[in-house]
């Protein structure tokens, strides 16, 4: 339904999800501008775009950074629908935020009706080792359960920041490729049928 903009470049839409204060905006800003923003300013929603080179192909990334503390999850439905890949972020220093990832995961699966959507579980604030509340094994176990990667990051030190987005975009790209492939096959099939 959505009107597709005339683009020369493929556009990959990434959506940041997770509880409030886990560092979604910090990761986004670090990735976009190379800045680390210390102060916490709860986000409503913000959109970012930039051109990147992914595996020698130029493309655009569109990041929708969302608020983590909507009162009603349904509000998220619409933009979840617009997402092609998700970074589900929790804070390694806050166990509750880890618990909440389950809700986000469930909602995404429900809204999109698709549990194969590119999705990465991201444990942020890895630099604050002494405040750590979520151990790697537990998080990794959940990711394994969801059949998705688990990556620990630090928006502050930029540790794994680039990687998290790159891995996600590859997944999105692969998925798009295979979708095209299927489409072509389907068309072929249809043709044959005809």
């Amino acid at each position: 339904m959505g009107k597709k903009a005339k683009q020369d470049l493929p556009l990959h839409k990434v959506i940041m999800v997770g509880s409030g204060g886990v560092g979604k905006s910090a990761l986004t800003l670090q990735y976009m501008y190379g800045d680390f923003v210390e102060e916490y300013d709860p986000t409503k929603a913000d959109s970012y775009r930039k051109k990147i080179t992914l595996d020698n192909h130029e493309c655009q990334i569109d990041i929708l950074d969302t608020a983590g503390q909507e009162e009603y999850a349904a509000i998220r439905d619409n933009y979840y629908r617009s997402g092609e890949g998700f970074l589900c972020v929790f804070s390694l220093c806050e166990y509750e935020s880890f618990v909440h990832t389950q809700e986000f995961k469930d909602q995404i699966a429900r809204v999109l009706g698709d549990d194969k959507i590119p999705f990465i579980l991201v444990g942020n604030k890895a630099d604050l080792g002494h405040l750590r509340k979520v151990n790697r094994e537990e998080a990794a176990a959940r990711a394994a359960e969801w059949d998705c990667p688990y990556i620990e990051t630090s928006a502050k030190t930029r540790h794994n920041v680039e990687e998290v987005y790159t891995v996600l975009m590859r997944k999105i790209q692969d998925r798009k490729e295979s979708a095209k492939e299927r489409e072509r096959k389907n068309k072929k099939g249809k043709c044959l049928l005809l």
Binding site: M1, S47, A74, N78, Y80, G83
Partner: protein
Amino acid sequence: MASSRSRGALTASMAGPKAKDDPVRQQLIQALFADSSSSTAETMMTYVKIYEEEKAGKDMKVLAGKKGSTERTKMLSKPRYLCLTVKSNGKVRLHKVKKTSATSYHIGRTWHLDEIKSIENVDARRWTVVINRPYAWVTDAPELKSDFMMMLLKVLRSNLKRLPTLINIDEPALATQFNVAREAAAGTSNRSQRAAPIPGGIANSTGSFVQDFENRLSIQTERMKRSAAPSSSSLNSGITPGGANSPRSDQSGARMIEEQEPLDEIALLNLEELLYDMDLASSEDGVALETRLMNELSALEMTNVYSIIESDERIKDVMSELDKGIEELDDMDSWLSLYRQELDSMGDDIRQIESQNRGLQVQTSNQASLLRELENLLLSITIPDSVLETLKKESLERDSSIRRLEEASAEIQDVLLTKFDEDVAGMSAVHNRMEHYSFHCDNFAGRLFEFLRTKIQNQADHYLNDKQRSLSKGYLVMFGYQVVERYFIAYRGLILWLREMDSRRFTDLQMQYVNNMNRLYRKEIKEFFNILSTHHVAKLEKPDDSEFVFGSSYHGGGIIARGGTAIRESLSSPSDLTGRIPWRKRSTREIQDPNVNPSTRSHTGDLGESSRKIEVGQEEKLSIDEAFAQALTIMTALASREQNYMSDLFTLTKMMSMRMFLDDPQLNGNGSTAKYAQLDLETQRKPTLDLKSSKRLAQLMGILFDGLSVELNNFAEMGVKNESIQCVGMLISVERAQKEIVDSDQGFLITMLAQLHTKLVGMFEKYVEEQLKFIEEARSKTKRKGVLPFMRIFPRFAQRMEALLEGNESTEARQLISAAYDKLVRVMFESTEALAKETVDFDDKEQGSHVVNIENMHHFYSEMRLRKVKVTKLESYMKYAKTSYESHLETYVRGVVRRSLSKLLDFFDGVEGLVKTKTSASEDVGFHLTYNKAALKKVVALYPPSVVRKDLLHLYRKVEKHFASSDEEQEGLLQVAWRGIQEEFIRQHERFSRLIRECYPAEANVQMEFSVQELLGFFSEIAKSHQYS
């Protein structure tokens, strides 16, 4: 001798008779003074017996006061004998002798006469002699004392120059006493000879004395008669004739002769009278008598002398003879004085001659040295013919010949530049020779000039037609003229000579050089720029239509193909940016390259071609500013080098004479290669303080490179015409080039670049003005939605500017660009806001206006951040954009929600207004006509779930259209806006429900017709209905 003899005689005469009848005297002589053989033998003249007072004092006087008591005298002391002796050498001494037994004596003390300090006569028998201490002596009888004292005084007088102090001694009286005694003795002797001896008490004591006296008289008389030799004895006190041997000895002698007769005849009678008188013992009469006698005697002597003289006739003869002799002597004397005068004048003549002689010698030696000087002078200004021959004929071609010519010309220069004083210069020999040499010098200068002129011309002609040097597509080189440089530097010494000897030809030569080299440079520079701008510059097919030009038709991203060469727009990640502006790196290399190994280069004298070459492929094209930067680097290096070369070739900025040059092995190496190797043409030089020479150099450079400024200007104009933004890149290149030479002596380049700089600044300012106009014009032209073209362009523009400026923060370009940002952004924002108001593309004008602002401000802010354009000047605009975006978004969201729920909103706004303003109780609202329960029910009923659902679906489509309506890329703001709208719906629903609860009693049981759950359901439904791919 005479004195000792006379004293000897005297002593003998005195001692002789006494010794016979004085036993004490005999005993004394025998005991003490008998040995006459010894050289130290002494003869006793006289003696006296004394008693010595032990202490001179009162006692003595008291004792002495009682006269006549011998006993007492004896008590004074034992008797002693004072003996007066004379040594054979005439020394007289006084001895104090003690009688040790009946016949033996012992000398107690011995004194020399000069030891006697004073003699004092105390009374008749007593006297005191002070020698080392006072001695008080007493004699037996006054006569003995007087005699002895008399003798002592006589002896003292004759032996000492200074007599001891005599106190209370009446010499005349003593003498009278003595004379009385003597005459008495004489009388006695005469009487004994002629008549009866005169008996008298005194005979005993004076008898010997009288004998002695007579003896002496006879001896003296004999002596006088023989005209004895004068004696120097001083015993001529007037009483004793024996001492009369002074110059008056003749007179004395005469007197003695005269004296003898009265003595013999008349005086004897008087003498008897006198002796008779003497019986009366008047000592005064004795003295008077002596005086009278003496007077008479001298009168007689005088008379006698005159009579002798007058009576002698011969004397007159002698006198006249003497007079004659004297006269003759006078004559002789005058003759002698004449002689003397003659001799004196001859002496003067001789001296004069001598001094003249000396003068002549000096003159001769002066002339000799003058001759030497002149010879030296002539020698110093003489140049061997071989030298002149060298100047005339030696070839100018080979190194060795040039070396010889340098030596020869230096030699002639030394002579010609020798400073003579006027006199020397006026000498015809010098003058002629100088003219001769000047002639040769001038000839050589002419030959040298002609030779070099021809060579320069030939070289220029040769290279002008050198086909190998022509440039072509893909081959962009400024060859430079190392060969020419190397060739002519060999003549540096000779050119220096020319400067000093013939400044007109020297100036002509410079003009020849620059004019001929100008032909080469003008052609080559023209060709270089021609090929560069024709084949290797990426031009826009449509001039001034780029992503950096606000008024251009270009708005796209991605790869732009231009003239077969890909210039990529730098839209991608910032990290790629520098890579996308390839010229930067290359230009930097070009600048550093000459410094990498300047020594190697200057030693080989060979420029690496690469540093003079723009590395391009056959079909490769460069952006205009890159091409300009490279060309500028090459050209400034070329011009700078050429100036350094000229400065060296013509030695324009160094104070140096040809001699200094020739004598400096550093500068004047052996042969042209060595000379060339010494040049350092690449290093920038400090400005010279000599204004004249720097002006001269700038003038020559202006002629030499008259084509350069033209070509650079043309190129810049061409570039800017094609794409006006290029002026910034070129401006920065110029500033960089200016920085390179700012402290150097490259006056020509400094001026040229300053002019170019001014021109480019003007171009940039014009460009900015044009952009501003475009932006303002866009207001009326643009009718489209989405991000405005200039909003897209500006971040790219700013990023490009920043990339160009990188590392040039303190440049003029930085300030220019910052100022341009300020102007552009302000106008952009103004235009955006104005345009937003006027937008007509939207069904709802108000919402459309917000959307324009939201999209543009969001784009500006996020693009600027993304491109990391961090300029202080732009920060406030960034903040403004962000705030503007947020507030417009909020207003938009509120606006669209109000459209859907307008009646509900109006109603509840009213209710809320009442609650707030009227301060009435919430419960009272229900009694208000407009807001009573019925009204509430009515308005709530207007929004059943079905209507709300429909409205939402409609609204979503509308919002979607607002934010994705542009055919360009969307800003991704749809989800942001929609999310805000959802929240706003929920918030308003909550607000309505709250107000109903508060203002309307619960029994009314009025509620919103749709619930939050229903609302969320609609949202989910909308979400599901939009499938994104």
